[in-house]
Symmetry: none
Subunit: 224 residues, 2 copies
């Protein structure tokens, strides 16, 4: 769950923000002043910090600078002040976005999404691990016994398709049309050749496949 720190000295607004964000699946921590906020931020990493500039104990810009000395966490500023100077000051201090009150919850949520989209690692590509080898989709890499396994482009395409659909049966037609194009959906000989290559490179016992399984008469299946 995405951890968010909300900093605001107005109890009512803080409560509204907390409920709204929680309703949209965020894990919300709150703080009512600058020192509490800095303490919380130092103890736990947040995906984003929503910061109201009108705090009782510290200047908002100072809070931003303090946060920035320790981390690059995205900061979304809320403020009642519309002047250009205030915005420039906050943004140049290290804020990522600046919303002026009053604002609708939809806009806040949309800006939050935009900010998280930009800052969250695009490392969503999963790494599939088995007892004998590892497939890293993002890096296009297969490692076995600490050594990299060299795969040809077509071998990779077939493996990728299987690995992206673990435990799921893929018919020969599906694999062929996905890898070679819809026109090749008949000639299953390609596929047998490449399954053999992959097994030779990945399976500990080629004769008794453990991961790249044949489903007789239908197709193949990857078993993690």
């Amino acid at each position: 769950m995405t951890a968010v720190l909300v900093v605001d000295d107005a109890p009512d607004l803080l409560k509204v923000l907390k409920i709204t964000l929680q309703a949209h699946g965020y894990d919300v921590t709150t703080a009512a002043d600058g020192h509490t906020a800095l303490l919380a931020a130092s103890q736990q990493p947040f995906a984003v910090i929503i910061l109201d500039l009108g705090l009782p104990d510290m200047d908002g810009t100072t809070v931003i600078r303090e946060l920035r000395t320790a981390s690059r966490v995205p900061i979304l500023v809320l403020s009642a002040r519309h002047s250009s100077d205030d915005k420039v000051e906050a943004l140049d201090a290290g804020a990522d976005d600046y919303i002026t009150k009053p604002f609708g919850p939809d806009e806040l949520l949309a800006r939050l999404r935009a900010l998280l989209r930009r800052t969250t690692d695009p490392e969503q590509e999963p790494v599939v691990v088995t007892q004998d080898f590892t497939v890293d989709l993002a890096k296009h890499r297969v490692v076995r016994d600490r050594n990299e396994v060299r795969l040809t482009p077509t071998e990779w395409s077939v493996l990728e398709l299987l690995v992206r659909n673990p435990e799921k049966l893929l018919t020969q037609q599906q694999i062929l049309s996905e890898v070679w194009g819809p026109a090749y959906a008949k000639d299953a000989n390609y596929l047998r050749v490449y399954m053999a290559q992959l097994r030779r490179k990945l399976e500990p016992d080629t004769a008794n496949p453990r991961y790249l399984l044949t489903v007789a008469g239908l197709g193949y299946r990857f078993q993690p």
Copy 2:
């Protein structure tokens, strides 16, 4: 110099934006409609795109989506429409920031800086060291055997891209469109020439590359 694409159908505003941005050191390209903008974006990589939503030929959201299909370039939206729905739509389509008219140049510039700060690489580990050479991203320098290696601008661009994505496979298309612009994504001959240059300057054994590896049929990879 930072390349910026400004898209606006109002000639006056376009002119003002261009002059303002150029005065602050940006390299400005302009477009007056959606199709021109998409064409420009496909031929040259920009650090950021400033997009007015009120275009004559295309819906603004459509332009954003089209841009997003091809790249993750930061998009800053200008709009006369203040409604929450418009903002949400643009932001969720893939925009990174949304400014409503009228806006001051200071705010635009500050938001631009904030966006670029977030977007440009953090340079957390600007020095990449291998057993044979050192690449200092911040200083634009490569050192080998205590001597500086002279790289041409294009050689540097290619090396930088590879080094910033260690271990990750970069396809020829990715490298070509990053370094030469999206329009050159087909002619892989450039790349082969430059990989050869880099290997000659960096690899201890040019015939058996240890750092700049070829992944046949797909692309290249930097192995630290």
